[in-house]
């Protein structure tokens, strides 16, 4: 840690981790609702719908906290100055956490906007917007005052502003269901395949530069090309969600072609990570951080690139749209790209924030491999269930519940893998919260 205000990041990370754990507990309830019969009395009180809104909102909340913490860590080093106002940063953390907790309790009592992934009620949306404005102001002022612009800074700030702007499209009430979904995807798709990719690109470039000692010049050149391709394919690629909503037919062409190219920038990210690692000018001090960085690039490619491509063409999407195939992709992509990116940041920054140079990574390694293997298995079992559903329900037309009865077994296997995932996650979280220096031997 070079700057005192980087310590802010630590508390963002600490806040994010328990939310991740809670998210996974709710995931297990969702999985159980598929595999077992939850009695009517329980369903009437705590339904799948409530649990799902908690599962997904927790996901978004902890990841945004992670990104913000990441920004508070990176910006001082990049601008070579302290954060404009640490007080505001802590205030904003508390405001977001309180909003999140109120929202979760609200869901339980049926206070919801009732739109998937955007369930947070509109009054709370306003608090979120204020929080985001404070955050952007704080980061922006730090950069402006320092006036030492770099591509990494620019990408990070651009990504965060874009992210905040898109959120606004999710707030209004739309009378027309078609238009509603049209703009719903401006939040969801343009986040994960646009703004978040910018933030990810910037954070990963920063970490790689610090880890490998490769020239800033080289790292930033790659970064420009990557984010250029992300934007080029990702923006028009939104069309892959407009095939069946009642939008004009040309979206089948725009969406199909642009989204089919979306794996390219991800592939580029894998290649440049590998290259930088190979051409490193430094010693590997904490191998686990390197493992995470590479794991993140590779799993990003699998979950988003390969799994995304698999169902993005209209001819296939017609049968897989809104099935467990989507869930399989959603899990692999969110975990591979953004959960691992956040964990990479945590493992990179938290030891430094605690003043530990070389940390003991034995538990961390176990956690990494358990989570990754378990999530890959979950992706596959969700996937098998999804293919069964697409075939039995949609190709053969044998009805929704008929298909579900054939999928039940696979959802059961998913829960078993999910329990292993939870074990890996608990190991990881414990490890991060109680990092200790490695025993001196080498």
């Amino acid at each position: 840690m070079e700057y005192r205000s980087q310590k802010i990041a630590y508390w963002y990370f600490v806040a994010a981790l328990p939310l991740f754990v809670l998210q996974v507990f709710l995931g297990l309830y969702l999985g159980s609702s598929y595999a077992f019969t939850i009695p009517q009395e329980i369903v009437d009180v705590f339904s799948f719908a409530t649990a799902r809104s908690m599962h997904t909102n927790l996901l978004v909340l902890w990841m945004l906290l992670g990104f913000m913490g990441g920004a508070y860590y990176i910006v001082p080093e990049e601008t070579q100055s302290e954060i404009y106002s640490p007080g505001l940063a802590y205030f904003q953390l508390v405001a977001l956490l309180v909003t999140g907790v109120v929202a979760l309790i609200g869901f339980f009592f049926g206070w919801t906007q009732g739109r998937p992934l955007l369930e947070i009620p509109r009054p709370l949306d306003l608090v979120v917007v204020v929080g985001a404005l404070i955050f952007l102001f704080n980061i922006g002022m730090t950069m402006l005052k320092a006036n030492r612009w770099t591509v990494i800074q620019g990408t990070l700030l651009g990504g965060l502003v874009f992210l905040a702007l898109l959120y606004l499209f999710g707030i209004p009430f739309y009378r027309n269901e078609v238009i509603d979904w049209y703009y719903w995807w401006w939040v969801i798709h343009l986040w994960v395949e646009g703004a978040w990719e910018l933030v990810t690109g910037a954070i990963l470039a920063f970490i790689l530069m610090k880890l490998t000692g490769v020239d800033r010049h080289v790292v930033e050149k790659w970064l420009y090309v990557e984010i250029g391709l992300f934007m080029f394919t990702g923006i028009a690629g939104t069309g892959h969600h407009y095939y069946w909503i009642g939008a004009p037919r040309y979206w089948l062409w725009i969406g199909g072609i642009f989204s089919a190219l979306e794996p390219l920038p991800i592939l580029l990210m894998v290649i440049d990570t590998m290259l930088h690692v190979k051409e490193r000018k430094t010693q590997i001090v904490n191998p686990l951080v390197w493992t995470y960085a590479i794991g993140c690039a590779v799993f990003h490619m699998i979950g988003a690139g390969v799994w995304g491509f698999a169902h993005t063409l209209p001819q296939i999407n017609y049968y897989t749209h809104g099935s467990q195939v989507t869930v399989s992709h959603g899990h692999l992509a969110f975990f591979g790209a953004y959960a691992l990116l956040n964990l990479t940041t945590f493992y990179f920054a938290m030891p430094k924030l605690k003043g530990i140079e070389v940390f003991d990574d034995r538990r961390g390694k176990i956690g990494f491999w358990t989570m990754n293997v378990a999530m890959m298995i979950m992706g596959l079992t969700f996937g098998v269930a999804g293919v069964l559903q697409a075939y039995i329900e949609r190709v053969l037309g044998m009805g929704y519940m008929t298909a579900q009865s054939y999928m039940r077994l696979w959802m059961l296997v998913t829960i078993v893998a999910g329990v292993f995932f939870l074990a890996g996650l608990l190991t990881t979280v414990t490890d991060l919260l109680t990092l200790r220096p490695a025993k001196q031997e080498a």
Binding site: G110, E119, R175, W181, A236, R394
Partner: protein, 233 residues
């Protein structure tokens, strides 16, 4: 490649895609008027949409394929089970799905709200959305039926039964829906002719029947499925 070239790749990539996207957005707004029948988008439809959101139905059910995947897609639910079917299921899910291994909560939706929901689903069902979902597309399923006869070797009647929505509500050999009775031994009770009459218009046989009239079947298909069922003894 210099950093400057890289910068231009970024700028042109972003701008070209954004321009195309925004132009298409503008045109989409124009065309959605017709594609979604905006003239029929009444206040009651909007009220139905609000109700749909109020009870968070969408985190279990997909609509237009988006949402939770835990329960049947509701895009064409009116075509599938009819307005009465919706009333009964939303009002008393604990009865409607008593035999099912997956439950829908009783959300205490008021009668007026249910009527709004029906108006909303009716409007959604008429959106011109490139014939999705396939399971409710008559055109696709006729093809599925033919494929089944040709490849799996089932009888034409069995293929009709499996692909024309009967299995949404009825089970055979332990698989299928639970809303209607299992039909494994229906041939002991009804003849082919009786089944034909019943399926075409259940209320003409039993005014209290909960089965909606199956109007999507051609005469030939009805013939085949009745023959198939009457042989189940």
């Amino acid at each position: 490649m210099t950093k400057k070239t890289a910068f231009w790749i970024f700028l042109l990539g972003t701008l070209s895609s954004a321009v195309l996207f925004l132009a298409a957005t503008w045109d989409t707004h124009r065309q959605v008027e017709t594609l979604s029948n905006v003239d029929k988008l009444s206040e009651q439809v909007v009220a139905g949409k609000r109700t749909f959101e109020k009870y968070n139905c969408n985190d279990c059910h997909t609509i237009l394929g988006f949402g939770g995947y835990y329960a049947p897609d509701l895009t064409k639910v009116v075509q599938r089970i009819g307005a009465d079917g919706i009333r009964y299921r939303v009002k008393s899910p604990e009865l409607a799905f008593a035999n099912s291994w997956r439950k829908m909560p009783n959300l205490n939706v008021s009668d007026a709200e249910i009527e709004d929901l029906i108006a909303f689903f009716t409007w959604v069902g008429e959106i011109n959305n490139n014939d999705w979902p396939p399971q409710d597309s008559k055109k696709r399923l006729s093809r599925g039926e033919q494929a089944m006869v040709a490849t799996v070797g089932v009888s034409p009647g069995a293929a009709v039964f499996q692909t024309k929505g009967c299995m949404n509500c009825h089970a055979l050999n332990g698989t299928g829906g639970t809303f209607g009775p299992a039909l494994d031994t229906i041939g002991r009770e009804l003849s082919a002719a009786e089944i034909r009459t019943y399926v075409r218009d259940p209320k003409s046989v039993d005014p209290k029947s909960m089965m909606p009239a199956q109007t999507g079947l051609s005469d030939r298909e009805l013939e085949e499925v009745a023959k198939f069922l009457s042989n189940r003894k």
